[in-house]
Symmetry: C2
Subunit: 651 residues, 2 copies
């Protein structure tokens, strides 16, 4: 078959046969092309510009005729037919550095943390009696006895690779050695054996790992002091194979997708591990070989993909996981570049769409131990919601869709440089004021920007309570676009890419559906236990997205329940915080297991009351205004003002 040379503008070229997908050629060339929908040709985000070359477009969905005329093609739907030069638009290249700027503040070590009591990994300096002709016990028995003399442990086990090392290490250390042991309920396992005594000051390292669908976070922790030495985060490299979990599951089921996704997330984690070691290494002498424990959280799909476990059943009714409670593994089994024998604890999830990120998040929020009822929310592509207290816990997951992460919205984007994160609209001129991440020219709208925009549009009458754009508005920002009415947020000459940034009727519809799904989930949970939402003392909001939501805006559009602002607590990345707690304390780890066991999971897709609640929530802020008294007041004010301007929008 004929070979063709495909050059990518900045990143070199590859030779591929006729019929190769541009996305495949890009992978071979090491060029990153975003494929939020997993290469299904649905999202249009993989559009590239083809110059001087012949390609065949299988589909041009999401591309206009002008786009195609200008050479644009969907990389996931376009095959090579001759040599070609490809330009990958800048806006689709992920800004990989920014995420780490947004790491959370140094968490406090849990009060009263005592590694001798709480930590499952212990270090023992041992002095063994050397073998003699009168004492010919084998090395392993001798070592077991020495450990037993220092600590009352269950039966000590050892792996074959370590068994190969003990003889030489015992002799190298002249029968003085340092043993690192992981202690479980029924057995203790030797993790490492080092020649000679090790100073008590020498660090004993662990990792708390949170695998988000979008972002992977890694904390390097000194296990004896509990100190977080370094933390870092980057985009989950699986993003190129699909932006949401469903796209990833589909990608995994194709060809070698399962292995590819596993490789990518491991690449993300291991890169971050390298980075935290570098960060820490500038001050102290630490190596990744010293990392002997890790806890991992993530939603159920991320956990399956990390472990290479097929996740197909999660996507299909009746939506079950292969496994919720994972046994402990070694780093080597999983593929983490730390000490091969390191204990890796994948924390337990509850269901297909309520994973370890939520159980760990609930722990770190303290909800499961509180006397009063709290509401816990982690909103991203999916909204996971927990309602409960120390006596009971109910949970559900609502498919919010990707709108809050910038997906399914024409000018949506992730919260990176150039994303509009807040909008204010002048009620008289309808001119918007924007706050852009990185203070750059705007490239698009991220989730918090979209929520802010929707709230402002609603309160200024740019949209009505049904989400319809008011086309009679006295501003040239309202116009008819290709897919119906749209409101211009930034003019082409103000933007990064020289194209207008607008919000369309379809975008607004997606946003309202997303917020309705989340609010309906909250309502169903409250109904299911017969507890009125007002009873919740606190609304605990986890997840990095939650951190940037403006509560007022969230309440105004009916995403968040209408409560005093003081009741809202933004906890940041509760998942990694929970992993950190479990990393330090066996009790915390067990408590996460108990949370997973205690939670009553309500499957919304099997729940008729959910559809009712969802339909009621498809308005701004809600059909039942009595649920949003503070917003009702604002609306009255606005209506009054609008009626004065003789442009009554709200009926």
């Amino acid at each position: 078959m004929a070979e063709h040379t495909i050059s990518f503008d900045r990143d070199g070229s590859v030779s591929v046969p006729t019929g190769t997908l541009l996305t495949e050629a890009a992978v071979q060339a090491g060029v990153f092309i975003s494929q939020p929908c997993g290469g299904q040709g649905r999202c249009g985000r993989c559009a590239v510009q083809v110059q001087n070359g012949g390609v065949r477009r299988r589909s041009t969905l999401r591309l206009s005729e002008e786009d195609v005329a200008a050479g644009y093609a969907l990389a996931c739907q376009t095959v090579v037919e001759s040599d070609a030069q490809i330009i990958v638009p800048d806006q689709d290249t992920l800004d990989r550095t920014l995420t780490s700027d947004r790491v959370v503040a140094q968490p406090a070590v849990p009060p009263g943390y005592d590694p001798q009591r709480d930590q499952s990994v212990r270090r023992y300096c041992l002095t063994l009696s050397p073998p003699t002709m009168d004492d010919q016990r084998d090395d392993w028995s001798r070592l077991q006895t020495a450990v037993a003399q220092q600590a009352d442990l269950p039966q000590l086990t050892i792996s074959l690779p370590l068994l190969r090392q003990i003889g030489p290490v015992l002799r190298q250390g002249d029968w003085q050695v340092t043993a690192v042991v992981s202690i479980g309920e029924d057995a203790a396992r030797l993790i490492n054996l080092l020649p000679g005594p090790v100073s008590n000051e020498a660090p004993l390292l662990g990792l708390a790992i949170d695998i988000g669908t979008t972002t992977v976070s890694v904390w390097l922790v000194e296990l004896l002091s509990g100190e977080v030495i370094a933390q870092t985060a980057e985009y989950n490299r699986q993003i190129r194979c699909g932006e949401d979990v469903i796209s990833r599951i589909i990608y995994a089921s194709k060809n070698n997708g399962q292995a590819e996704l596993r490789r990518l997330v491991l690449e993300s984690i291991n890169t971050l591990v390298e980075r935290v070691m570098q960060k820490a290494g500038s001050e102290r002498q630490v190596t990744s070989e010293q990392v002997i424990k890790a806890t991992v959280v993530g939603n159920s799909i991320m956990m399956h993909l990390l472990l290479g476990i097929p996740a197909e059943s999660i996507r299909l009714s009746p939506f079950v996981t292969a496994v919720n409670h994972l046994p402990p593994f070694t780093a080597q089994e999983i593929g983490l570049d730390i000490h091969p024998e390191a204990e890796v604890i994948c924390l337990p999830g509850v269901a297909s769409y309520v994973g370890a990120d939520i159980t760990a998040g609930v722990l770190s929020s303290g909800l499961d131990d509180a006397p009063d009822v709290s509401l816990f929310m982690d909103v991203g592509t999916n909204g996971e919601i927990v309602l409960g207290c120390r006596d009971w816990l109910v949970t559900c997951a609502c498919s919010a869709g990707p709108a809050f992460e910038g997906g399914g919205v024409r000018d949506g984007m992730r919260a990176t440089r150039g994303a509009i994160e807040a909008v204010w609209i002048d009620g008289n001129t309808y001119e918007p004021t924007l706050r852009v991440i990185g203070n750059s020219k705007p490239r698009g709208l991220c989730g918090s920007g979209l929520i802010s925009l929707l709230a402002e549009m609603f309160l200024t009458g740019v949209v009505d309570k049904g989400g319809h754009l008011n086309q009679h508005l006295a501003t040239d920002r309202m116009r008819q676009g290709e897919s119906g009415p749209e409101y211009i947020i930034a003019w082409a000459d103000e933007t990064w890419h020289g194209r207008d940034i607008a919000i369309t009727h379809v975008d607004i519809d997606n946003l309202i559906r997303a917020k309705a799904a989340v609010y309906a989930g909250i309502s169903v949970l409250a109904e299911s236990v017969g507890v009125p939402l007002e009873m919740a003392e606190q609304v605990l909001i986890g997840g990095s997205f939650g951190k940037y939501i403006n509560v007022e805006n969230g309440v105004q559009i009916g995403l968040l329940p209408d409560m005093p602002w003081d009741n809202f607590k933004f906890l940041g990345n509760t998942a990694v915080l929970g992993a950190y707690h479990a990393l330090l304390s066996q009790t915390a780890q067990q408590r996460i297991g108990e949370i997973a066991g205690r939670m009553t999971y309500i499957e919304l897709s099997a729940d008729n009351s959910f559809y009712e609640a969802f339909t009621s929530a498809l308005f701004l802020p809600h059909t039942d205004l009595s649920q949003f008294p503070s917003v009702a007041t604002q609306i009255e004010d606005v209506n009054e003002k609008i009626s004065r301007k003789d442009a009554k929008v709200f009926s």
Copy 2:
């Protein structure tokens, strides 16, 4: 560096740089050269003939000047300096096929064997309730519940690779599956999961593996019936790296020797596994993937080398192993080509030189359960001896050296085609009659042949009780050789290789030291417990070598205690038989553990009484003739006859 072409007579050629050892070049060319001493230049067995080429001999120990003049060189001590042609003498090429002719008879299934009670591996046909929207348990919980409903097992564990399979297998089998589970004391482990129900008649396969220093034996066993489906054996491929355990330990400590020895023994085992599968496959549909359990026995060095565990400490005072009681492994961890999750049980040893072959051998001999005292011997390169009964067990190992396996004797060889295995000497003419394995022309003497020869020489006055050759004998078979007096057993024109086969003074000395070491070991054991040897009801002789010893000859030279012939039981390969018992029965497996725990090990090298006993045994049959009353009688007869011939040898 200059490259030279080294051609091996039959097996092609390689290009190697100046300074390459001939043994290394041979490995690269895939040519087998025996290195009994492990490449130390001590044994002289790797001698090759160099034609048309330049080499440098670092050492010519064991080669005569004539040998060197004829082009002979020690391959392990000779480096390449130019192109050369190498002839590898035929006699050093191992006859690999013969060993398998000598497999033992089909063993009986242990009476009352009940897999439902005795077998640690069980198979369950399971019907699971499929998941529904009302029952969204994860696959693994569902499977655990289904197993628990069928059997009262400890907590079921699973490996990551299997965890990856359960989802697809459950659905492929439409929620009907067959689970294979290995049941331990504290936990049960899922070994395999197959879609759909499996007939109760379908075989469940296991392997009993005995790794001898010389021979590796593998039995394929149907675990439900206990039937041995096929058995086979071949030389341990490690032989090329050293014939005895000490040479192997030395080889392991050099360069990449550890990995090489591990690879070689795995190659032996996996070749045998393939062969038993072929043997079995002609009648039934079986595959190595169906083998889900194996038990392994071998001396402590063989166990260490199989597992890649350094064995150096075994060789050096105070002679300790890295590990005696090994945890269970999976086939994948060890490298066996059977089901990767198969349970592999390496049975426990007692000390550096009393390994799992002996503990398993004691079990299969029944000694540990007998009311009366028995003596158990396994004589090969090392002689392992156990004395005891159901109430007590003592054991020791005596370094007999390689004489009984044909080593350390000029014309010694292993018991393969061409080996003289029995000798009769005419008391008048001193003419020998020979029995040769395979009825071929003789190539050398194997262990049983040497014992037979020594006994005959002693009883005909060819050697005296001190082992000195009677140089005044009226026969041209007695002559002065290069290393002193020697007795010709076969003339050059009668032999395979056209050289005389003789036994030298040095050979006889080695043989007497070997038998003295074994007998001294027996004496010390008896002394240590204060039990006279005569009290032993039985002498149980294990090991394939033992099978071919002529008891009369053994007693005559003072290797075996002087007891009625009926008291001797030749049990064949007791080690593999013990492995077979442990493969079938958990109780047998535990009993081997108990035997290992119960045995009192006596270290002979630290025992003064051993040297005394050894010195006393350095005569034929012994200094103290009262210990060998039957031989004393024979000697009297012979002395009488010799004195009649006026050639008094015995004083």
